[in-house]
């Protein structure tokens, strides 16, 4: 298992789907571990009732069907698939509405879905998903990207209420790739994924949705920032180590 995760850490993020299906083939006995530990690019289905798209993940899946957060129905239809309790479903509906406004303000497009379910220890779990196609042909407002995708997965475990305080544990993954392409500079492509965790004890006076939302917003900003500053920065540093920029080199003019 460690070796399999080692391979996933090295293989190009663009190939992660192929790599995962290859590993599932080689290690069928580890398939559930692999599926739960390796994040994959998000897929989308259209809710036939509302006409809205929703995001698929392990948490809204039962057998080969996925539950839509909009109509609460499984696609394709499924008898006796699991549903959240009516109280939790109420929170799920609200979370989907608010989160799609959040998504629109930060992403200027994209798709979002929120799923909730009860867990064994009197608490519940929420999964907040965002998928954005930022390419010229997708939802890229500015039209700079030949190809661009951002997939965010936030899984937040909410503990039981203990004298007005609840423990929240958030695990977030962002997978992204972006490619620009033009005649003078060729193709330039960056892609990657990072995963981080955040734990907080918060008063439930403001409500679960407010607490979860704030944590997710803070986490997303952190992840975006580290991708931009640290991860992209490190690859840029590497390029400049390989071939230091021209300023420091003695320039010779072409002798024509």
């Amino acid at each position: 298992m460690e070796a399999a995760l080692g391979l996933m850490r090295r293989i190009h993020p663009k190939h992660s789907e192929t790599a995962l299906s290859a590993l599932l083939g080689l290690l069928p006995h580890l398939s559930s571990d692999l599926l739960s530990q390796v994040d994959q690019p998000l897929q989308v289905l259209c809710d036939v009732d509302s006409g809205k798209e929703f995001i698929l993940c392990e948490y809204n899946r039962d057998a080969d069907s996925y539950r839509s957060p909009w109509s609460n129905k499984y696609h394709p239809p499924l008898e006796d698939g699991p549903y959240p309790s009516s109280e939790l479903r109420k929170l799920e509906i609200e979370a989907n509405e608010v989160f799609s406004i959040y998504r629109d303000q930060y992403y200027e497009g994209g798709i979002s879905s929120v799923y909730m379910w009860e867990d064994e220890n009197e608490g519940f779990v929420g999964c907040f998903l965002i998928k954005k196609d930022g390419s010229k042909t997708g939802h890229g407002r500015r039209g700079y990207l030949q190809e661009g995708s951002w997939d965010a997965i936030h899984v937040i475990e909410v503990g039981p209420d203990e004298e007005g305080i609840t423990h929240y544990c958030l695990t977030s993954t962002v997978m992204l790739s972006l490619t620009t392409n033009d005649q003078s500079s060729g193709t330039f492509s960056l892609s990657g994924s990072i995963r981080r965790q955040m734990n907080m004890d918060l008063s439930i006076a403001d409500g679960h949705l407010c607490n979860m939302g704030k944590m997710i917003e803070e986490m997303e900003s952190k992840l975006r920032n580290s991708l931009d500053q640290v991860y992209f920065g490190k690859t840029k540093e590497m390029v400049c180590t390989l071939r230091p920029p021209a300023e420091v080199l003695p320039m010779r003019l072409p002798e024509s």
């Binding site: 500015r142 972006l178 390989l242 071939r243």
Partner: protein, 307 residues
């Protein structure tokens, strides 16, 4: 690599396993094939399949990454490329006129022998090649702290004098591996130089490829590729060498500048199309007051102006 969903319990054939293993090896980032090989070996837990995959994949990987190996007993290095390949395990180093015999999987040069006359270009072509090698070497040592380069004659190496066409490949390879800093990278350029005798022209075609991998608590990779063309006039070996070196220097410097521009465009333009730093409202999202959204929604619904 088709995953037919429910192939589930059917055991893969050795042939399928080998193809998967080769795929992983060939897709290793620059400088990381040995690490990938180690993990793959333990995932496969089948030495025969692993060895077969390794013996097929390593030569391809080594050539496409243009790895550089030290030649024992000499002061030179040899570049493993498709241009220098004489035989599966034999690679020519034109600068020292030696042939390195290499072990692809271990990525070492095991033996060195002097090149035979028929493996080297004619005296006429060699004069051009040697002059160009000297100029490129000068450029690479100035521009790349750890660059390696070589000039191969890939067409018309037996031309005996004026009146014949021939073609060189100028190869520049620079790699940096620092696994302790979770970072690896490589710069590879291949320049094809066609000496066109009838037109008295040199046609230049360049292919540049830059990659970097940073993997501390994550996995982020850069891939950048660029192609360009240029030309110059057919002159004496020394003058050809100088103008080709200048052309290469010019294009590579320009390319580096455009890479830096791509990076500096990221935060405010390119990356913004994926996710903004701040919402369109330029203030953090009002999680404590989400009621406003349902209120305004209710109103717009009542007025019939909702979506």
């Amino acid at each position: 690599m088709a995953d037919d969903g429910e192939c589930g319990e059917v055991e893969m054939s050795d042939e399928q396993k080998k193809e998967i293993a080769k795929w992983f090896l060939l897709n290793s980032p620059a400088g990381e094939i040995q690490y990938v090989a180690k993990d793959l070996r333990s995932v496969l837990s089948d030495e025969d399949v692993y060895n077969e995959a390794a013996s097929e994949a390593f030569p391809l990987y080594n050539k496409s990454h243009m790895i550089c190996l030290e030649m024992p007993g000499t002061t030179g290095d040899v570049l493993v490329t498709s241009f220098s390949e004489l035989d599966k395990n034999e690679y020519l180093d034109p600068r020292t006129a030696h042939v390195a015999i290499i072990d692809h999987v271990k990525q070492v040069c095991t033996e060195v022998r002097p090149a035979a006359d028929e493996e080297l270009p004619s005296a006429y072509v060699e004069e051009f090649r040697c002059a160009m090698d000297a100029e490129i070497l000068k450029y690479v040592s100035e521009a790349y702290p750890k660059g390696v380069c070589s000039v191969y004659c890939i067409n018309g190496k037996d031309a005996e004098g004026p009146g014949c066409d021939f073609e060189f490949a100028v190869v520049i390879s620079a790699a940096r591996h620092s696994p302790q800093n979770f970072c690896n990278g490589s710069w590879r350029s291949i320049w094809n130089i066609e000496f066109k005798d009838d037109m008295q022209m040199l046609e230049v075609r360049g292919r540049l490829q830059v990659g970097a991998h940073y993997f501390e608590e994550g996995n982020v990779q850069l891939d950048a590729k660029h192609e360009c063309k240029d030309s110059t006039i057919f002159q004496s070996p020394e003058d050809c060498a100088i103008s080709i070196a200048n052309i290469i220097r010019h294009h590579e410097t320009e390319y580096l500048t455009s890479l830096q521009a791509s990076y500096s465009n990221l935060p405010d333009t390119t990356f913004k199309d994926l996710r903004r730093k701040l919402p369109v409202t330029r203030t953090l999202f009002p999680w404590h007051n989400t009621m406003q959204f349902s209120l305004s929604r209710d109103i717009s619904k009542e007025l019939g102006i909702g979506k």
